[in-house]
């Protein structure tokens, strides 16, 4: 069983959802990212998503765009991100790590070499924003060959007919982009989630994570009521920019507590 599947199985037996915080690698430097990863794992993160900086992050809002620019100025590269994962794994063999990014750095690295090196470094799953199912044959076979979970994005615009096609070959969990828009802008309401999550549930047995616009412990609890995981990104980056690592970790702990106290909606 993959690390990701193991985490969700364990949480299911506890009857609670997962918290997936986000770290933009190298924002503002390598040491901060490592400290955040280690600290988040100790403060209630069940899985951690690592943003791989790219010059042209088309699905991201101003906050993650700015984080990516700071990271690139600090010398971020895909190779460097794998280095961070490798170092994190020296002290943590349990928390799943998912890389989220754009296709071109992977193509530039070489798809086969990347899948091999990512798995070796201790990466568990991949989310490639600009690789829709129509183009997935570029990466999916190599990811599968190296045991990397291939996590697909589902959007409000994804029709019921399209869902099985998009989910083909995916594993780990499903990432529901809960709004039509870019990261860190709008937030889906409880009514939206009550309508959308069952629709996806009917198409897959995989756990469903909700991202884009989850900011507060209350919102995370709402997500946890309907879905299996809440992904929190922009608000943590904002906090890091304005304060320090300790405050971010306190927020992660508060978000985790919000999720732990959430009650599941009747299925």
């Amino acid at each position: 069983m993959s690390r990701i599947a193991g985490v969700f199985e364990n949480l299911r037996s506890q009857g609670r959802a997962a918290l997936i915080p986000f770290v933009e690698a190298f924002d503002p430097d390598r040491d901060t990212s490592l400290a955040l990863l280690t600290g988040m794992a100790a403060n209630g993160a069940d899985i951690i998503e690592i943003g791989v900086p790219f010059t042209d992050p088309m699905a991201d809002g101003p906050i993650i765009q700015a984080a990516g620019r700071r990271a690139l100025n600090a010398g971020a590269s895909l190779r460097g991100v794998l280095g961070i994962v490798r170092e994190f794994r020296h002290g943590n063999d349990k928390t799943p790590l998912v890389l989220m990014g754009y296709l071109n750095p992977i193509l530039s690295y070489g798809v086969a070499a990347f899948a091999h090196d990512a798995a070796q470094a201790g990466v568990d799953g991949l989310i490639v924003v600009d690789l829709p199912t129509e183009e997935a044959d570029l990466l999916l076979p190599e990811a599968a060959a190296h045991g990397l979970d291939f996590i697909r994005l589902i959007a409000p615009t994804t029709s019921d007919e399209r869902l099985p096609k998009v989910l083909a070959g995916s594993s780990g969990f499903v990432y529901y982009v809960s709004i039509t828009g870019i990261t860190g802008t709008r937030t889906a309401s409880a009514e939206d989630l009550a309508r959308d999550i069952p629709r996806i549930r009917r198409a897959t047995d995989l756990p469903i994570a909700v991202g884009f616009g989850v900011r507060t412990p209350e919102q995370a609890a709402t997500v946890a009521k309907y879905a299996d995981a809440a992904i929190v990104a922009s608000v943590l980056i904002e906090k890091l920019t304005n304060t320090n690592i300790a405050t971010v970790l306190a927020d992660v702990a508060a978000l985790a507590s919000g999720i732990h106290h959430a009650t599941k909606a009747a299925a």
């Binding site: 895909l78 992977i106 039509t180 802008t185």
Partner: protein, 412 residues
Amino acid sequence: MLRYAEGMNEILKNSLRSGPDGRGRFGEFGGRFVAETLMPLILELETAYEAAKADPSFQAEIDYYLKHYVGRPSALWFAERLTRHLGGAKIYFKRDELNHTGAHKINNCIGQILLARRMGKTRIIAETGAGQHGVATATVCALFGLPCTIYMGAVDVERQKPNVFRMKLLGAEIVPVKSGAGTLKDAMNDAMRDWVANVQDTFYIIGTAAGPHPYPAMVRDFQCVIGEETKWQLQEAEGRLPDICIAAIGGGSNAIGLFHPFLDDASVRLIGVEAAGHGLDSGEHAASLSRGRPGVLHGNRTYLLQNEDGQILEAHSISAGLDYPGIGPEHSWLHDIGRVEYVSITDDEALTAFQLCTRTEGIIPALEPAHALAYVMKLAPTLPVDKIIVMNLCGRGDKDIFTVAEHLGFKL
């Protein structure tokens, strides 16, 4: 001589004009690399475009606006003084700078806005570099009464003030984009972000033959009127095909429009001119074919300027319209199979050509076609007088006079 056989995939063996294949690819280039939120829309657009293409009333509608509003056909002008001055091949200008709004961009905008109307979209967005596509988009939006938002790099807003004001007069909202280097690439990123957030009512009019399928094919189809007219106009004037067609390339829409109708005419040399900026080895240029390598950006796989980590590099050109680190995917394919030759011209060479054209032909060209002309200046004198070159004069230079004045040391 030409390496046609490679990379043709499903494209018909007997024609170079039948691409892209069912996955929107020209050989290994093109495709649809967009976020899932947009993917259903891209598919819907493809279906709508295929249906429109099959409907004769759609083409009839386009023809009506091209003739009576844009002013097509544009003239094919024998540049006699320039020909004599250069002392070699006979030079013709395809005068797309005479179109309404002053560039070839309007050909595509007419096609796309008519499609947007067929699809029931009520809001238009676009990106622009030099402002020509922005002006053309704002123009058709005014004509059809649709609200219009134009994304433009903050640097370009500064260097293309006349076009910014024209767009405002036409009723468009201009959003200066400050991310990245504040040029065309960044404007395109923000336009796509807008689209993702407004998928229900918004139609994105992409200005060049790039982006996710079906845009490269659709923009090309709407621009092919340039090459088709050239073919019959030169037949009338000279009774034959040209020997060489030359056009400037940023994303490559004016060039593919001129070249595509000639792709299967093996005797016609096709030459695309990239912007070499301060020189190909200066690190400051926009020559994605000469100095880039294949990658994925803005929805398509194509040649890109990028570093060893796959991060996209900033392009540079004196011409805002060529200042883009990628190129349309069909050009990447035509480059790899060797059907089109791609060369490059520096800022300084383009400025020299700009002045020569102005003084010998009384035509102020845009800085974009000035790149094509600079290559004509190199090539024509090496050829015999019975050879014929057609150059696409794809835009007029009024928008560039401030930039040119600055480089020539004048203060306006």
